[in-house]
Symmetry: C2
Subunit: 224 residues, 2 copies
């Protein structure tokens, strides 16, 4: 039975503005970059999705496996269908680091071993965003819809949620797309404030209708 999937996570916690200030000290640097995920990243993506389900207390609705993710993702060119940006961090600079922050204390990542993506260069996967094209008939233009955005717990409140969302918005502009959309829970006032600060409008009158599970399956019956 297909289960109803939840909305995207209640969003990255709002990032205090101090998180964007580089400290005058240069201790404990944390370099980061965003790159396109590839099929080789599926084990990390699967673990991130599972953590997201735990965070949302919806593990009973999460039936994704490495195998089912591999079968349904990466079947087309990036940005033309389901696309994943991975967030990677390292205490060492990347050849193309997009951002560095300096921390007051060394960051302890209790799951570092689980999420290592490059042992030699000490690179760890810290989050992801999954998005795909949508379409506006009024604009006669595609846009992007963000299905999930997730940052692992020890990397939150450091501007990475904003960094992932900005990367999708930047890609949309680069492609001449008309909009970027996502969903937030109405009681998540911190997330709503954060999104509004990022320039988004929250559409209060719209409600999402979902046909799934047995209610959808019955449309496979030729009699309908």
């Amino acid at each position: 039975m297909a289960a109803a999937a939840p909305p995207p996570p209640p969003a990255p916690a709002p990032e205090p503005s101090i998180a964007f200030q580089e400290s005058s000290r240069r201790d404990n640097p944390l370099f980061s970059r965003i790159r396109l995920a590839t099929p080789a990243d599926v084990p990390h993506i699967h673990k991130l999705i599972h953590q997201m389900a735990v965070f949302e207390r919806l593990t009973d609705l999460c039936s994704a496996t490495e195998s089912s993710l591999s079968a349904t993702l990466f079947n087309s060119a990036p940005f033309t269908s389901f696309t994943i940006f991975l967030l990677e961090v390292s205490p060492k600079p990347f050849p193309s680091s997009e951002r560095v922050i300096y921390l007051d204390h060394p960051l302890i990542d209790p799951q570092r071993e689980t999420f290592i993506s490059d042992n030699v260069n000490d690179v760890t996967v810290a989050g992801f965003v999954l998005f795909f094209p949508n379409y506006s008939t009024f604009l006669a233009k595609p846009g992007f819809y963000i299905e999930d955005l997730f940052v692992r717990e020890c990397y939150r409140r450091k501007g990475f949620g904003r960094m992932l969302l900005s990367a999708v918005a930047k890609q949309a502009v680069k492609m001449g797309y008309g909009r970027v959309e996502w969903v937030v829970l109405d009681w998540n006032v911190n997330a709503i404030k954060f999104y509004e600060e990022m320039g988004a409008k929250v559409h209060d009158e719209w409600r999402i209708c979902r046909l799934t599970g047995p209610a959808l399956e019955k449309y496979g019956d030729d009699a309908i």
Copy 2:
């Protein structure tokens, strides 16, 4: 400037159950079928979108032209990206009619000439649905998102909205997809009732966030 596009129309009016009953009389038959739209249908699609904007009183937000629709639609195989089903009607049977209803009176379509798609066989375009794949990480499955569903005024309350929505649901089941979603305005209680009768769940807690226009464009600035 990119303008915010509206939600799908307030939905096909709820269809009284009597509309689905075939009359015992066999006068005034109206045959119908749903078929995939092609690039040749763009002039009709453009007119339908314009009518939808008029219906929603949002013509100022509708900047679609035949040229911009042609440039952004039909660039990939059906169902893998933006896809349009057209609803066609005729007083004569189609080779593959999906449905026939019998009307108490001959139907007067004041815009018949404008929407004729096959003059020889007296076929008229009566509506459309535009949809595209979305993705659930929890299900690790695609689904379909319905962006627009529109039936021309003189063909409403005859079960065609249901027919178009069912066609998308049926296609989703056929492809093994996990869900079909769309948006409704919260004050449109008739549409909500209709959708719930079709098996959909309305998710009251979710809000759509949209980044568009100048607020989106600023992410194209490299400084961000």
